[in-house]
Subunit: 455 residues, 2 copies
Amino acid sequence: VIVINLDKFFKPESVAVIGVSSNENKIGHIIFRNLMNNYKARIYPINPNEERIIGYKCYPSVLAVDSDIELAIIAIPAGKVMQAVNECYKKKIQNLIIITSGYSEIGNKKGEEELKKLLAKSKMNVLGVNCLGNYDAHTKFDSMFIPTARMKRPKPGYISFISQSGALGAAILDLIASKNHGISKFISYGNATNLDESDFLEYLGGDVNTKVICIYLEGVKDGSKFMQTAKKISGKKPVIILKGGVTEKGAQAAMSHTGSLAGSTQVYSAVFKQSGLIEVYSLEEMFNLARLLENVVKPKGNRVQIITNGGGYGILGADSVSKNNLRLAEMYPRTKMELKGKLSSLVSINNPIDLIGDANDERFQLAIEKCMNDSNIDIILTLLLPQTPLITENIVNILAKINSVKKKPLIVVCTGGLFAQKIKSELENKGVPCFDFIPDAVLAIKRFCDYHNIK
Amino acid sequence: VIVINLDKFFKPESVAVIGVSSNENKIGHIIFRNLMNNYKARIYPINPNEERIIGYKCYPSVLAVDSDIELAIIAIPAGKVMQAVNECYKKKIQNLIIITSGYSEIGNKKGEEELKKLLAKSKMNVLGVNCLGNYDAHTKFDSMFIPTARMKRPKPGYISFISQSGALGAAILDLIASKNHGISKFISYGNATNLDESDFLEYLGGDVNTKVICIYLEGVKDGSKFMQTAKKISGKKPVIILKGGVTEKGAQAAMSHTGSLAGSTQVYSAVFKQSGLIEVYSLEEMFNLARLLENVVKPKGNRVQIITNGGGYGILGADSVSKNNLRLAEMYPRTKMELKGKLSSLVSINNPIDLIGDANDERFQLAIEKCMNDSNIDIILTLLLPQTPLITENIVNILAKINSVKKKPLIVVCTGGLFAQKIKSELENKGVPCFDFIPDAVLAIKRFCDYHNIK
């Protein structure tokens, strides 16, 4: 496998956008405007029919630009793409993003084959066709044709996401941003006419801003290349994979989406396992696990201590831990004695620790700190119901401070409306993974322990 | 089973709150203030140490009030409860809510036994002890000791919720309200010292504002009474049950929470099934199913048609439908022809129908209307990704209008950030069930078909 340097797809110093209309609802216009507003580089709008676009001089073709161009984004109808690519080649542009659709995904295999040959001959690196583009939360480079009003961009983080589907990627980025989670790089690669999933996986494997790689895949073009790359990269950092088309009906749908032969589920699952990839079965599961892998220190074992202010929630937590074959920790008698000495007799000091409805922030602090120092406990699962009146926003600082020592995993579930969402968002901002619901959190912990081979 | 009329717990014309401090953080004060602000009735604060509370004349005991009182809410320490109950008895108050904790749940079995005897002798109807109180979204009666700033109250709907755990109930109400779902009645019954889960189930069975009953249960006090009631009510309307303490560890936790003997999971599950109850395994699953049972018409079969603007989402949807043993519909050739005649050749008219990234509201309207009229389709699952620029807020009106005919179930998944949440909230407001994620929606459809015996 040849390692291709894709840095210029994420921090180009000069960018041409080919097909920038003056109509602000058109794809090229949206891409140009996003770059103009958020990314610092020389940018050139290309359109033979316009003189100026949003105050920028407009060029009839890339050949008319008298400086060098590191990356071109093509957003014109399929019929005009070949010419634009030829002009980019003449201009010695090394890197292309082709947003344009209308190729093999609608049965136009001939068009895609011709383009593929031209791209191979020209030795350019090309993302697309039929893709949403890409995004880097650290550099703010953004070739996605969705206005920021419709899709919020996530803040910088260390999870990167490779998606064969653009719209699915857009929805997930929007959701991640709204939850205040971070991301590193996002790549929608569409039909993989030139660069494919393996090339991006290889690149992200060497990317210092990527700690965890997530892949949504419908089909693989070159199986042995993918296996070889996956094996190599999964040895360096966790790679989570969600396969679309794992059922017969789903596979049929994949065929007409990206023209992918989805292949047998069993074969894919076996290949993923052999290649060290972590297979998941939904997008939520993917990002829940990714957040733990991004933020949480490896535990010594799978003995979970539950701490809550809601009795029923503690019981559901204990049920969930048991059902997922994790263990409920048994704290040292000394820890129990120390907690009993400092807390009201109404509080239940077992597993779960039930701090009951009149718990304040300090009661949580005391319980969590004691559990952090108890070597019979490996993981602390805090089930926080912030509806009770004595919990304040300061719980965020308390949890974040304890967590910053990274002694053992601290995972929070916080359920509810506006106030709960605020606490959740602030905890995420400070690197404490926080979930809406117990089953999601416990499943993520289970997958996390599995990844670390903790039984 | 004696049917007890509990109307006065939800629409009393006169209410005494026993233990209203002038300290606005205290439980009695919060309850009194919530009633004062939101509920229309005569209300009397009781406190021997105060002259006036928030502008109201304060009484030393209920005996000092010279009008009749239909319901008293007791929020004083356990040691003073017996005297207050005796005074209520003398005052001929028929209905009591005892919020106070400190009984069997902390090992004070003697205290609870004494109180239980007094209550039985007095023939009053009593909710509690150790409970959060209750709420009626239609009348706005509210005895819950959580300020509205911390816990939003849901709008009126037709799902009622009986919860053995108060804090769990609070978190769920808060969440439901924030998602713009509705509720009818909420009852946190705590230790069930007098009235128990069966009494509330019986009452809700006859309540015209309750279409679906949800129960969170840790243990049952009187098994045969519960089975008898459950059988009777589940014949009238759907009753969904979530059992806390289904594992050994969870059961131990339940013991110290509400003093419930959780009993064997297998026994409970068998009893639930025999009694016609729908058992679920998480709170999300409970409310997702309840929303379908509340809003959605019974389908003729389980043939699901997926309509989406995101190819990858369609594939994941098809996978999810297959994995849940539902069927993917095969539309009539005529429907397919008609759609092909009106839509761009890029659109894929199969199952899923992929309206692709440039879909506008009208394209969705056309596809959904055609599927509504195709008798080969039983259920329509719309996977809407509102990040793409041509989807507008008007999609809400379009979907709501089609849904209002109630021809067949229309279920929506809408994933994303602020704009998606807005669409979701408005759809819910207009009675179209809308989910964040595909697996949750499809599982709910599966459970919904199971309830209707559709295979």
